[in-house]
Symmetry: C2
Subunit: 360 residues, 2 copies
């Protein structure tokens, strides 16, 4: 009753394992195996409830039909939805996906990548941490199918799909400026990661364009490693000590949720006392009262694109670097109304800059 193999089927059908293998792989007709033998083999296989051992197949053929996905944290809204899409799409092509969380940790990411490598994934989809650059380049050099998601390295030849992060924050600040806000804080991550940098650049450039002075005190950087609780505390004291800001931009889901909690704790009325924009949409931002204006990422498109790029490599259809940059989508909701300034000044961007702020 133990594990049935093609050997068992061969014996029971009275043919060789070669024939069984051919038939089971659907090449019976092509190889002109007789109808009766094909039927016999199929029947016996079904009867014995045969399951091909993918390990053995892979060892022989070099294909595992398994893809490895490494993200920061699978429970994060963005990544779990990305994983869903990737899995759905992969399934269509007969691939299963193995996922790992890097926890944004150098050691952990090295470990999980190593273990995926040992398990011979057919391809790798990775949201890399900064420390992974050497490994990423090594993968490219070894010509392993690989696509980076959410982030990438400017110096690396690895393919990637990412968001136009710059545009995301640029559009946010532009929207805030148009609504009459001029004391726009940004809460972002303390990270060298390209997407974080670009979000910050978009913020600064948009301020300049709208003639709003850049105020270093309005910038808060939270380390990735902080727990949500710790982030809440930090953001709370940041907002409290900058009582004059009239708008705040959270550059990720992971910052926006704690951010809103901070504002709730401080009893700052969102949309009235302070305008809020968050990166990444989610249920809470949509359903909150007031609902939150967001920069939404086209998560499904990101996942689909990345998977396509990856499978094109796996199937050797496209091996050169492909860079896919998708556009974010500003969804205006209730948290960013036209500003009703105490001075009842016209909500005109040009007019707002006048009052030069002195460093505190």
């Amino acid at each position: 009753m133990k594990k049935v193999s093609i050997k068992d089927i061969a014996k029971k059908s009275g043919v060789s394992i070669t024939t069984v293998s051919i038939v089971l792989n659907g090449n019976g007709a092509e190889r002109k195996i007789s109808e009766s033998v094909i039927k016999k083999i199929m029947d016996v296989a079904a009867e014995l409830n045969y399951r091909p051992n993918q390990q053995a197949k892979s060892l022989r053929t070099g294909k595992t039909y398994t893809l490895g996905l490494i993200v920061d944290d699978i429970s994060n809204f963005f990544f779990s939805h990305l994983a869903k899409t990737v899995e759905e799409e992969a399934d269509k092509f007969g691939y299963t996906v193995m996922f790992c969380s890097s926890e944004n940790d150098e050691g952990k990411s090295r470990n999980v990548l190593g273990s995926l490598l040992n398990k011979q994934m057919d391809g790798y989809m990775i949201a890399p941490t900064a420390s992974m650059l050497p490994e990423i380049n090594q993968l490219v050099q070894e010509k392993k199918p690989l696509v980076l998601v959410d982030r990438f390295f400017q110096t690396s030849p690895a393919s990637y799909v990412t968001l136009d992060n710059y545009k995301g924050t640029f559009d946010s600040v532009t929207h805030l400026a148009k609504q009459g806000y001029s004391k726009i804080a940004i809460v972002t991550n303390d990270s060298e990661q390209i997407q974080i940098q670009e979000r910050f650049e978009g913020y600064k450039t948009a301020l300049r364009k709208h003639k709003i002075p850049f105020v270093p005190e309005y910038v808060k950087k939270i380390p990735f490693k902080y727990s949500a609780q710790k982030a809440v505390k930090e953001i709370e004291s940041f907002i409290a000590s900058n009582a004059d800001i009239d708008a705040v931009l959270f550059t990720s889901n992971n910052l926006g949720i704690p951010g809103l909690e901070s504002l709730k704790n401080l009893k700052k009325k969102v949309g009235e006392e302070i305008a809020v924009i968050c990166f990444d949409d989610n249920d809470h931002f949509r359903l909150a009262s007031p609902s939150i204006t967001v920069i939404s990422q086209p998560i499904r498109a990101i996942g689909k694109n990345a998977l396509k790029i990856l499978l094109d490599q796996v199937e050797k259809k496209e091996l050169s670097q492909v860079r896919s940059v998708l556009q974010p989508n500003l969804i205006v909701r209730e948290s960013t109304p036209v500003k009703v300034a105490p001075e009842v000044k016209q909500a005109d961007t040009a007019g707002v800059k006048s009052k030069k702020r002195t460093a505190k």
Copy 2:
């Protein structure tokens, strides 16, 4: 430059592959391989950037160090958090996890289970759909390590970890009754799944206990398959056509989010015009205004327990059925204040039942 194997290391070190295998598995000392040979082999392996082929190892040893996880939908809050815990814990023991979404679909779940089976997982953790019963029993019969999560089959000898679902809804209704509500609706799934049934039982029993009549019109069952949008519409018309209800209980995250959206659309004031309790906690319920009273599941504990049960089977430490039932936690928030009835009746449960409702 292609794939380095132990053969390459053997050649370069001038020893046999047997010796290489022994050393690489850390049994060099035990097998009394000379220090110098060990060092030589290790050096060569490092130099060649050797990676053991897990496929080959597995084929030989029968262990893949991979666990399969099948859930409804990995992007769902409950399951993505469960996945995170499972992955974290598995990693501690050297296992990687492969996840699949069954999408609550008979065909899809059969497919994903089949492909995991072919890939020879060391163990299976499954949130089974009703249709999976035969496959589940087959797994048990074949003595494959298996643990069910979130749901189980009363007739099946498979181990499981689940929530005391009955208590979850029972406590909810009790809380509502104590707060003075007596027209308590329930929005649940249209499903035979045990956990759904139990939640419904808890609701009915609690009503009886608090002498609140059970009103069939107050029950709304939404099919699993409905999209969130469709659920919103259904719940909206349900609430609209039962204007007299004073409280509503959503028996899952997947119902609570659309449910709150419905109430928002209807401009029904949560906590004032209608009390709300949801199953499963999440960011939105916690941060909403008013915040939502919930029955929270100890997701981490569920994941940890399930993984332990599974690994105990994998390592043959405990092979008999183990049933783990964890307790839910009622977190009272702002959506279920003491009822201020128009009649200013005492918030006394016994007194409330008086006014007999006529079927609409």
